[in-house]
Amino acid sequence: MDTDVIEARRPWSGIVPAGHSLSIEDLEGNQAVDCLLYNAADTAERYSAPDTLVGQGSIFLTTGSVLRTSEGRPLMTIVADDVGRHDTIGGACSKESNTLRYGHHTHHQHACVENFLAEGARWGLGKRDLVSNINWFMNVPVEADGTLGIVDGLSAPGYAVTMRAEIDTLVLISNCPQVNNPCNGFDPTPVRVTIAPDA
């Protein structure tokens, strides 16, 4: 078993071998964890939010969700979830999108895309490799008229989500530093990741 605590606002990455599981624990509650997945053997094949949604016919991720690549292939399967719904349509915060959502005064705040770029570079990944991601513990409902938004989270201290790798999977995480919306309860906090042989 291999465990790391990801401090608030920081990135993390690692390879989860096929047949192993990755657990992410929301230590203090209401902490969004932005996440991208890649086929470790060929990172041109990566997580695809649309293919994942099409595969399951619904917009939320929870136990049973198969996280698929842009070629439709399973990367990981969610095997346990204390929360009940996680987002994959809201994307990652960036300095650039902060200017649109909140104004140009937020442009120099830290953001998930900065974490993805910095951590991804360690694996040879660059700007072209960033696509729509998973937001563990983030709550993005869609109203009947199509209105959607990031609202108060459903997670709580100690809640966790666990996924089993179907193939060797490179996992890229940004422990979200956003302070302008409720995704982190306006107070980014640490999370714990654990890689273990699947029980």
Binding site: A44, E45, S48, A49, P50, D51, L53, V54, G57, S58, I59, F60, S70, E71, G72, R73, R85, I89, G90, G91, A92, S94, K95, E96, S97, N98, T99, L100, R101, G103, H104, V113, G126, K127, R128, D129, L130, V131, S132, N133, V140, P141, V142, A144, G146, T147, L148, G149, I150
Partner: protein
């Protein structure tokens, strides 16, 4: 090996005869083809001078097309027979690592469904194109396009050259014509097949087409590369691979400016258009 040839019957046995034969094919027409020059398109849209047309092409179901368009160009996509599905990717023509970001495209306007005034946003906080006209209102920004493996499973084949090509395979070819590879192809949007989230707040519902003749108009707010794959929507429930022809027309124009009511229609869109304008001014385009 013995030459078993000599089968020709078209008078193409010499270079000169073959050249004459090839040249005699000029002037033909096909259901799906580009018209070049675009000004020769027989039916320019109302109010558009033939000389302002810069792209006129019909794309068969299962076909693809691409174009580099100048800032300010309007692109009209028409579902001619009522069963087209235009999967679209847009890139900044200067720097194609800046490209459509579907997450920001729904998150920034606080709206999951594409409609009039909706921006197609890049990952750099800029509007690549604005959906300025939408007659049908049945589109999708959640489901992306079809991968080859899924088409192989559903229809028996998903290769670009086969009978039931996947959107992903066609984007692969369309992108390659602009030097783009698999890493350059993010999730796409699609027009003319409606998708909605069901009353339970989670289930994806396929609502299909509104009917023949519907069109959308996208105004390029920066110089853009547009890739189009005209293939069935990935959650189209029909067993048969069904997709009819699409028409693409584009004409010169100006980008959205502060005088346009669209500019200030929301604070998020205004800042996004400002960011596009800021880029274009600094870039000198």
């Amino acid at each position: 090996m013995t030459n078993s040839g000599g089968l020709t019957s078209d008078g193409t046995d010499t270079t000169h005869a073959a050249r004459d034969h090839a040249r005699a094919q000029a002037g033909g027409s096909a259901e799906a083809m580009p018209v070049v020059p675009a000004s020769a398109w027989p039916h320019p849209p109302a109010g558009v001078a033939a000389n302002d047309l810069v792209w006129a092409e019909t794309v068969a179901g299962g076909g693809y097309a691409s174009k580099v368009l100048a800032r300010g160009t309007t692109l009209r996509l028409t579902d001619i027979a009522g069963d087209a599905c235009a999967h679209v990717l847009v890139f900044n023509a200067d720097q194609p690592w800046e490209r459509l970001n579907v997450a920001d495209t729904v998150k920034i306007p606080w709206q999951a469904y594409l409609g009039p005034g909706h921006p197609l946003l890049s990952d750099q906080g800029r509007v690549l194109a604005t959906l300025v006209t939408d007659t049908g209102g049945a589109h999708d920004a959640l489901c992306g396009t079809s991968p080859a493996a899924r088409n192989a499973e559903r229809y028996g084949d998903g290769a670009a050259g086969g009978p039931t090509p996947s959107g992903r395979a066609l984007f692969g070819l369309a992108g390659a014509k602009h030097g783009l590879g698999p890493r350059d192809l993010p999730p796409s949007v699609s027009f003319f097949k409606g998708v909605r989230v069901g009353d339970d707040g989670g289930t994806l519902e396929y609502h299909g087409s509104v009917g023949p003749g519907e069109h959308v108009e996208l105004r390029a707010e920066l110089g853009v590369v547009v890739l189009i794959a005209n293939v069935p929507h990935p959650i189209d429930p029909r067993e048969k691979y069904a997709c009819s022809a699409l028409e693409a027309l584009a004409w010169r124009g100006s980008p959205t400016g502060p005088h346009d009511p669209l500019w200030s229609s929301s604070p998020e869109l205004e800042r996004a258009l400002c960011n596009s304008d800021d880029y274009a001014r600094a870039r000198g385009i």
